[in-house]
Symmetry: C2
Subunit: 351 residues, 2 copies
């Protein structure tokens, strides 16, 4: 059983995957090897090699776990957390732990092994976004889960262990620290000003314009003022809205459009860089909470959003140790490059 352990110094929970303990020898190869073989469990026809599907968009009335799907969600075969069991918290001297209850799913975005998000037709991207939403909605019915993470690792450098296009979903019995920090900042700002922090930022960014990459009817994409990484992107609803779970069909369309737009700009101007994206959704208000009633103001003070982080620099080790980032590309420059990426052929890197 995996364990969640709490670090009392950093006040951070860590998943210790006790079941797949690795010997040092498992690490002595180069970490730069692409762990990609010939057989792909996510390709059509190989449905029997994955755990059963928990969601699928299917055509022609095809059967579950058989070919005929366009988007398919399955449990992760090697989950970081286990779905069965009750949450159990325990002290261990100065430390705290709980058993590693959670869900770990994979959204297989397409049957095509090589067709990644920016190259999908818009209507297919919408299907993928609907799959995210549906799984989020379903997982949030479980009161054991305080938070549901939707994230993507694209490229080996960004942590992808299989190259077939996929997104991961992890439901956790705690709120990840980064999200907690954001929830607290937003709450504090609201208490002081009775305004949403994110709305304030978005208003200022739209007025300044220099860090805006693109926008549509419902969403805006910007390079954040204090970007940690070169070409980091922040996507958020233009009008205050606290949760991705209940966005409308129209918003699903515009979200898919801006995701395709931004990922295409990154791909074109940075030569298909490795990247991660993470959805920052609202925490699960139906979960058994540490402070009951704490989330009652979410609707006013929280603004859901997406972070996209291209993995272009190597400075991460130092950053891991300190939380202190050095970014060699001012976000104003990054936004300008990305804005111009699709306009001018001559912007393409000549080589």
């Amino acid at each position: 059983m995996p364990e969640l352990r709490h670090d009392p110094i950093q006040r951070r929970w860590v998943i210790i995957a006790t079941e797949r303990a690795k010997r040092p020898c498992d690490f002595t190869g180069s970490v730069d090897e692409t762990p990609n073989g010939n057989f792909c469990p996510f390709c059509e026809g190989n449905e029997h090699t994955t755990p059963p599907e928990v969601y699928a968009h299917r055509v022609n009335g095809s059967e579950p776990d058989k070919p005929g799907w366009t988007v398919r969600v399955v449990s992760n075969k090697f989950p970081a957390l286990r779905i069965e069991g009750e949450l159990d918290r325990e002290g261990e001297g100065v430390f705290d732990k709980m058993n590693g209850i959670g869900a770990h799913e994979v959204v297989i975005e397409t049957t095509d092994h090589n067709l990644h998000l920016p190259d999908q037709p818009l209507e297919h991207l919408e299907r993928i976004v609907r799959a995210y939403q549906s799984r989020l909605k379903d997982l949030m019915k479980d009161p054991r889960f305080r938070y549901v993470l939707i994230f993507k690792n694209h490229g080996v450098t960004a942590g992808a262990s299989l190259s077939h296009p996929h997104t991961q979903i992890i439901a956790t019995p705690i709120t990840p620290r980064t999200i907690s920090m954001e929830l607290n900042s937003a709450r504090d700002h609201y208490v002081r000003k009775e305004r949403c922090l994110f709305c304030d930022i978005i208003r200022q960014e739209l007025k300044d314009g220099i860090r805006v990459i693109s926008q549509n009817e419902d969403f805006v994409a910007i390079c954040p003022y204090a970007s940690r990484f070169p070409f980091e992107v922040f996507i958020a609803p233009l009008v205050h809205h606290h949760t991705f779970v209940n966005i409308s069909e129209g918003q699903i369309k515009s979200l898919s459009q801006i995701l395709k737009d931004v990922l295409t700009r990154l791909k074109v101007s940075l030569n298909d860089p490795p990247y991660n994206f993470v959805f920052h959704v609202a925490p699960n208000t139906k979960a058994k909470a540490k402070r009951p009633g704490y989330w009652t103001t979410l609707e006013y003070d929280w603004h859901w959003h997406i972070e996209i982080m291209p993995r272009l620099t190597r400075v991460a080790g130092f950053e891991w140790g300190t939380g202190f980032y050095i970014n060699p590309v001012p976000p104003e420059d990054a936004a300008r490059y990305l804005r111009e990426a699709l306009d001018q052929e001559e912007n393409a890197c000549a080589n």
Copy 2:
């Protein structure tokens, strides 16, 4: 002039190195290339190619910035922060910024291009540790600097851009977020219990024994209970002590010994892995402070230490986005492997 920018959502300062703005094309090569040429500015004889030295251990009365040194500290030729100027804070709408004042130095550990820390003779490691201490002491005289970071990137994957053995020192006008978090946790624990949090942890670890790698007269090395990374190591003084700046000659010797011991164990059992280490020293009590008097209890509630993070897994992108870590190697197993690393030849990975 580089800028420090504050993210009001994450409450995190970021260095935006505005002067060395990079175009997208600068990133389109593989990030896995070793950026190492034939000429090495850190090798003996090339002293004129670096900024003037600010510290050196020299033999035979040799002149500054000439051959004859054993350890040499110079300013970074491409500093992330600038040493000249006054601190200046300014608002920018909802955002905050200050000018990028700080120091960025390089400790060139040896004249030998290929002799890394674990293979240094003990007395040379002591010279290197003395260089760290001397620079820390000197930089902390400057009231503009709230914190001084001593850290090392070993190997390309860990962010080293030059392979000649070196350590970096960055003095900053803010306390990095990770350090602040630890200072606050330690302070809270002390307020509740009148005991040092780190002393409590060390006592428990020594009693349990399962996560201890090695110890000597003054220091202990353990794999932390909630390790984020496989084979992560924490080194701390056995007896409560809050600052590295004034450790004794005897402690310098035992620190060098345990550093050599642990780095040798990592090298032997993990095939010379890329790694980062970061010293978590006390903040600069002579700095102009946000809350004057806040550091008066440091002596009781803070316990300096070192974090060593081997870079063996690729999961970092997701972790960057969430602060949530999945570690596939339980620290008990990691500690056992490292404890046994030097004892048994048959532990060597057969391949």
